[in-house]
């Protein structure tokens, strides 16, 4: 009798096809163009460092869930994505035996997955972006290894690479003039930054590749414009107002600030992390503005040349507060007092 085997559950009885793992794998896929460009510019090191992060992230998740007697969820793609993002935020120079730095990506992955994510309750409960905490931990622990930047070679199998400062590093230490000198002229500077032919973290350099991935996510509505636009807009405005070195207000170069550092990677792929950003749109705009303001504060006044990572993490702290104070507008709420 079929009647004995029907399923009884609460409505709705139909669901959309969307799943968490589909989202995670799609976001990972959207980072593929940037990853390919990174391998092109930084050679197999980029591939190896990122792969090492991904593998250690997945293994960390597996073992910590096993140890905590939780359901193993490595197939949902979230550990993969965390590993991928961490890898893309590290310098390719970490793939090195002398000095030996292979433990650095592994420890970073462990910190990201175990400490930042699982110890806070697992997927959905972490306060901070796991990949970024992993990176901050490494920056504090191995500051030297974390700031050796390979020069992009565009030679696929090159293992030996000269090291150089990042554009933001040059900008901080020596100013815009020197940076233009290094790249020849201003147009060439912008072009190279756009393509990604510059030193920096593995996945942050190719702006054009990142924007292709970001447009895909925007088109699929996996992310919305609110955080990236407010983040980038704030950076641009503040760079224009305060970015000029010794030339007064309103003389800065917003484009240079937008195209360099980890800004595009951070604004589209890290600040938009569902778990650690506000879920109401108005809150997201405030979050983005905060990220932009902190980024420029660090870039212009701080000790580090780049501030995207710290800016996002600091704003992550405010996410619960923003979510609590900036709620969605309830239908019919305006007139509720007349009742």
């Amino acid at each position: 009798m079929k009647e004995n085997t029907v399923i009884v559950s609460v409505s709705p009885h139909i669901r959309s096809e969307e799943t968490v793992s589909h989202i995670m794998w799609t976001v990972s896929l959207s980072l593929l163009p940037a990853f390919v460009m990174a391998i092109y510019f930084f050679g197999p090191r980029a591939l190896f460092v990122t792969a090492l992060c991904i593998i250690s992230s997945i293994l960390s998740e597996y073992f910590v869930q096993k140890a905590m007697k939780k359901k193993i969820t490595i197939s949902d793609g979230s550990a993969f994505l965390t590993g991928l993002l961490l890898g893309l935020n590290l310098p390719a120079s970490l793939w090195s035996l002398n000095p030996f730095t292979l433990h650095v990506p592994i420890i970073g992955s462990f910190v990201a997955i175990v400490i930042t994510k699982q110890l806070f309750g697992g997927l959905g409960y972490n306060i901070f972006n796991p990949a970024l905490i992993g990176r901050v931990f490494l920056m504090a622990s191995w500051p030297r290894a974390m700031t050796i930047w390979n020069e992009p070679t565009a030679a696929f199998l090159a293992f030996d690479a000269k090291t150089t400062a990042t554009p933001l590093g040059i900008l901080k230490e020596e100013g815009t003039g020197r940076l233009i000198e290094v790249f020849g002229d201003r147009v060439n500077l912008y072009t190279q930054l756009l393509i990604g032919h510059r030193s920096g973290s593995i996945g942050e350099t190719s702006i054009i590749a990142l924007l292709i991935g970001a447009s895909f996510l925007l088109y699929k509505r996996y992310i919305t414009w609110h955080i990236p636009a407010s983040f980038l807009g704030t950076v641009a405005v503040l760079a224009w107002i305060f970015g000029g070195k010794g030339t007064g207000l309103f003389t800065g170069d917003p484009l240079l600030h937008l195209l360099s550092g980890g800004l595009i990677l951070g604004a589209f792929f890290m600040a938009t992390d569902y778990v650690t950003c506000p879920s109401v749109k108005t809150g997201q705009i405030l979050f983005g503005i905060g990220c932009g303001a902190l980024t420029m504060l660090i870039r212009l006044k701080g000790g580090y040349p780049e501030g995207v990572m710290f800016a996002i993490l600091l704003m992550n702290c405010f996410t619960p507060l923003i979510d609590r104070s900036m709620r969605s507008k309830v239908f019919g709420a305006v007139k509720v007092k007349t009742k």
Binding site: R15, T19, I23, G122, K335
Partner: protein, 445 residues
């Protein structure tokens, strides 16, 4: 043109909502057919929101079709009538589609279809507002969209809340269901007449019909019938295809731009909404004195052999309707009374069709979503974007999951009308509506 009069700025709608596949093609071209007369009917005395009816018959009594068997148990209540002629053979508690035991009256059909004497009113147009309301009340009419709220209550607002707008709800935004759609194609004039009766009740001369834009034939039929009316103005609006477009508050917002206050009623903004089936029943009650003893039910879904739109006598066992549609396919997974978004999953087919049963939907096993295993909330905010009430279902579900039922009231728990849009889009497949109902059942508004 998809609309007849009115807004040229495009389709009207509200903020939020979802686009589930509508699956109406299964039954949209099938004319309403009369279901076979049942051998026995079990008619619950509580088919509506409000006080249950008091039985006015006894076991063994012979009754006629259309005779009242239960009188209203209060102001918010609706009379119940026999849908067959025959003999009362049992009275007692029987399960309804929501799984509750309700007092019911079981009548054996003698097959004679003998009507009680009905009062015909060819010149109903000249009746006064109070006379019209009396007839609607006597017919035991309730909202046939699913909530089954007694219509007479909606038509009797307190004096300080004057009604200036009547809207006929032809959105039928629940997937699969084609009850109102078929009625609009087959009985457009009767529905427009029903709307005119409602306008007469409130003494107003402008009425609206709202129909989703995926029903062009219905828009055309209703538009044509509306354009033939004299002396009053009836505007047929094409609405954006979006669930829950047919929710009262969303429909009012779309058509009039007015926002019903939170926890308020449509009458707070001077509007009364009636759905198409209800309006048709109102017409029949006023014109022919016919009580509400049958309704159109869409029997559909990929799990039933032949989908149909049937005119069904209240109290007919659901098992009989399934049989009439060729029976269940072998892979039956879920049987639902109502639509897939807000309907009730049945544990048995031995339950009667009531006034609120708009459809019987059979989903095969492979279409059933298993939510026994759901993931944590990843705060993606999709539910917040689609919530037509502007709530934060993510927070409601998290609070309820952790047992903070009182806390969930901070997030406007009681403004939720359980449309299910949040659970539909949730990528973690969280049973958000279930969490919300749990919190509601353990708190007070």
């Amino acid at each position: 043109m998809s609309f007849i009069k009115g807004n040229f700025l495009g389709l009207l709608t509200f903020k939020g909502g979802i686009h589930p596949p509508d699956r109406k093609e299964l039954t949209k071209d099938k004319p309403i057919g009369e279901a076979r007369p049942p051998r026995t009917v079990a008619i619950p005395l509580s088919q509506h929101i409000g006080a249950p009816c008091k039985p006015v018959v006894t076991i063994g009594q012979e009754i006629k079709k259309g005779e009242m068997i239960g009188e209203p148990g209060g102001f918010v209540s609706a009379a119940v009538h026999s849908s067959v002629s025959g003999k009362v053979i049992a009275m007692g508690e029987f399960p309804n589609v929501m799984g509750r035991m309700v007092p019911s009256i079981v009548i054996e059909n003698d097959g004679k279809e003998e009507w009680a004497i009905l009062k015909d009113n060819p010149d109903y147009a000249n009746l006064s507002s109070d006379e019209l309301k009396e007839k609607i009340k006597a017919a035991g009419i309730v909202g046939l969209g699913g909530a089954a709220f007694p219509t007479i209550v909606k038509l009797s607002p307190p004096k300080e809340k004057p009604i200036d707008t009547v809207i006929i709800n032809g959105a039928e935004c629940e997937p699969y269901l084609t009850v109102d759609y078929r009625l609009m194609l087959e009985k457009p004039h009767e529905i427009i007449e029903g709307l005119k009766v409602l306008m007469k009740v409130f003494g107003i001369n402008k009425g609206f019909v709202g129909i989703e834009n995926n029903k062009p034939e219905a828009l055309r039929a209703m538009g044509k019938a509306a354009s033939e009316t004299q002396d009053v103005e009836i505007v047929v609006h094409a609405l954006e295809v979006k669930y829950p477009q047919g929710a009262e508050k969303m429909l009012i917002k779309a058509i009039t731009g007015r926002e019903v206050p939170a926890r308020g009623l449509p009458m707070d903004v001077g509007v009364v909404v009636q759905n198409v089936s209800t309006t048709f029943a109102i017409y029949e009650a006023v014109r022919y004195g016919k009580p509400l003893i049958e309704r159109v039910v869409t029997v559909t879904g990929e799990g039933v052999r032949e989908s149909k739109n049937l005119l069904v006598k209240i109290g007919t066992p659901i098992s009989q309707l399934i049989e009439e549609c060729g029976g269940l396919k072998d892979s039956t997974g879920k049987i639902i009374a109502g639509g897939p978004m807000m309907g009730f999953a049945l544990s048995s087919l031995d339950m009667p069709v009531t006034k609120g049963t708009s459809g019987i939907l059979v989903l095969p096993e492979d279409k059933v979503v298993h939510t026994e295993e759901f993931g944590p909330c990843i705060r993606c905010g999709r539910c917040i974007d689609v919530c037509p009430m502007g709530l934060m279902p993510s927070m409601l579900s998290i609070y309820s999951e952790k047992g903070f039922y009182e806390g969930s009231k901070e997030y406007n728990l009681w403004d939720c009308f359980e449309c299910g849009s949040c659970a539909y889009v949730c990528p973690s497949k969280r049973p958000i509506v279930q969490f919300i109902r749990l919190a509601k059942s353990l708190t007070k508004p």
